[in-house]
Symmetry: C2
């Protein structure tokens, strides 16, 4: 392995995502919807599905969430398509999903509409462009709750204005293991940036996966917000790279040993919890990113990060027993790696 | 894997060994030898080397231990050829060694002569036969200290009589992990059998390798002693087998998981202490013996158990730094496995 490690940004930045919160002007916000109204809203968008255009021309499908089993919804939550809110069956909720699952529109989540688009790596501009096109095609058919001064009106005041949340998911094992996350959380909050762990909180950041997103939606331009998150993401990725190189140079063999042991366990274990799998994937991703592990593609690890999650296993293999799932998880790993 | 596990005795019984303690009648015991006398004894056996016959007809070589470096002696201790006593340079000491290293004669250890022969698996009768032939060929040339009533006279009274120690080395991970060793030590001691861990004492039996040997040498026949140790070894091996099967049936996946994780770490680690290597070899040997691991021969593990020891690495690769040795240990493992 070269002593000069060249880590690609895309090894650190997993995904980019833009979400737009929108509401219909003729209905109360979701918290005040009765069941009848929630059904009407669902029907409006069911009928509109064919008209929603996305710039990648993928076909959109409408799903009434009442037709889905809870573990199927849980699997979509693990894939970051649904939010936990959507498990609640008190009103009618729906999902419009593109074939590649990159564009998803949540109906009657916290707002009547949550239009979101996800891309791999750092690609917020494309995410915004596609979400925006979907938004325009819907807006041409319905009347949004919009105020000339404030902008888009949303159920929660923190989304009023652009209604936009731009977020980037990052893999930060070096910053996390050297306890630099709490400081980053604090300093980014002063810039109106939310920085948080995806799995677990506090000192137990499982898998060392983090998300940054904008806090502010009022009185700002979408493009400026995206520019800000983009810049911050690149800055954090740079810090992570520097930290990795520093750790590696400080103790090369210690560093390689930990990664290779994780790989050994990952490939050989007979049963494994999802928490352990996330931890090991984090080490292996770090090793693959730094060239310590040469024969495992990062894309396979991205796939595994979804496939090893509990609800995904339940959905894909019809397994509900916890031990059986821990065993199946190891089979899935062996098949992909 | 079959549910009916057929574990070979030789997977459990690593080696058999017979050692005969002998002294020359014309010299005081080793503890009272002056340096001059120790040199004379060394010369007697140096000159005798060519006459020592072993039934496997292997060529014997004489080594004056003062010509060996301390780490070379340490490596022979790790191979169970020398005893730690032989590191002491206060008097002249020597070693006569067969080409296959199975027959070794220690000169001026605790007694003037310690004639020993080692075989793989359970093979005490052959060990005795070969040690006995070597003994006879020496006895035809020198006068042993022998008493018609007591038998062979030895430096330590516990060896007087036959001067023979018959021992068997066993791998007992299941009995060890289920805390049955202490009870066995106690009950075997009442039969005049010494049962002890080879690496480490108390509850920390590294590698789960144990040795049984006879305590009694006075007023017994050699063949009866060998018969006794043979019977006890088979009995302990049977208990170990039953215990393995019971553990495996009680929790198949837990059992396999632990073994496969150990294999994963063993094959992938970048640095490893000898204590950890012994622990992992124990798990892998157990797995190979039970058919859980199919592609690793027990003979390779036997070789590794010697090759990964610190002094052996120092001797074979001229490495004295502890970290370098821990790294080389992993290379050795990867080369053999």
């Amino acid at each position: 392995m070269s002593e000069n490690i060249n880590i690609n940004n895309n090894d650190i930045i997993l995904t980019s995502r833009v979400r737009l919160a929108r509401n219909l002007s003729d209905y109360p916000f979701v918290t005040k919807l009765n069941n009848e109204q929630s059904k009407e809203i669902l029907d409006i968008f069911r009928n509109l599905t064919g008209d929603i255009k996305t710039s990648d021309n993928s076909k959109m499908s409408f799903i009434d969430l009442s037709s889905m089993k809870q573990y199927e919804k849980a699997a979509l939550i693990e894939q970051h398509i649904l939010s936990p809110e959507m498990m609640n069956e008190n009103i009618s909720r729906g999902l419009i999903l593109s074939q590649d699952q990159k564009t998803s529109i949540l109906i009657n989540e916290e707002d009547h509409l949550r239009i979101q688009h996800m891309e791999n790596g750092l690609n917020l501009y494309k995410c915004f462009e596609i979400a925006n096109e979907a938004d325009d095609s819907i807006e041409s058919k319905v009347k949004y709750a919009f105020d000339e001064t404030l902008g888009y009106l949303t159920c929660c005041p923190t989304n009023v204005g652009t209604g936009m949340r731009a977020s980037v998911m990052l893999h930060l094992p070096a910053l996390s293991q050297t306890n630099q996350i709490e400081n980053l959380i604090h300093s980014l909050s002063t810039l109106g940036i939310v920085f948080r762990g995806i799995y677990g909180e506090g000192s137990d950041f499982k898998g060392h996966i983090f998300q940054i997103s904008n806090q502010i939606t009022l009185g700002v331009e979408e493009k400026a917000t995206i520019e800000l998150i983009n810049t911050i993401a690149l800055d954090i990725a740079k810090r992570e790279k520097e930290c990795r190189n520093k750790l590696y140079k400080a103790n090369k063999f210690e560093f390689e040993d930990r990664i290779m042991r994780s790989l050994g366990i990952f490939k050989n274990a007979v049963k494994m919890t999802s928490a352990e799998a996330l931890k090991l994937i984090s080490d292996i991703r770090l090793g693959a990113s730094m060239g310590i592990i040469k024969d495992i593609e990062i894309s396979k690890l991205n796939k595994l990060m979804q496939d090893i999650m509990p609800a995904s296993i339940t959905k894909n293999y019809n397994i509900t027993d916890s031990l059986e799932r821990d065993i199946k998880r190891c089979e899935i790993i062996k098949n992909i790696i």
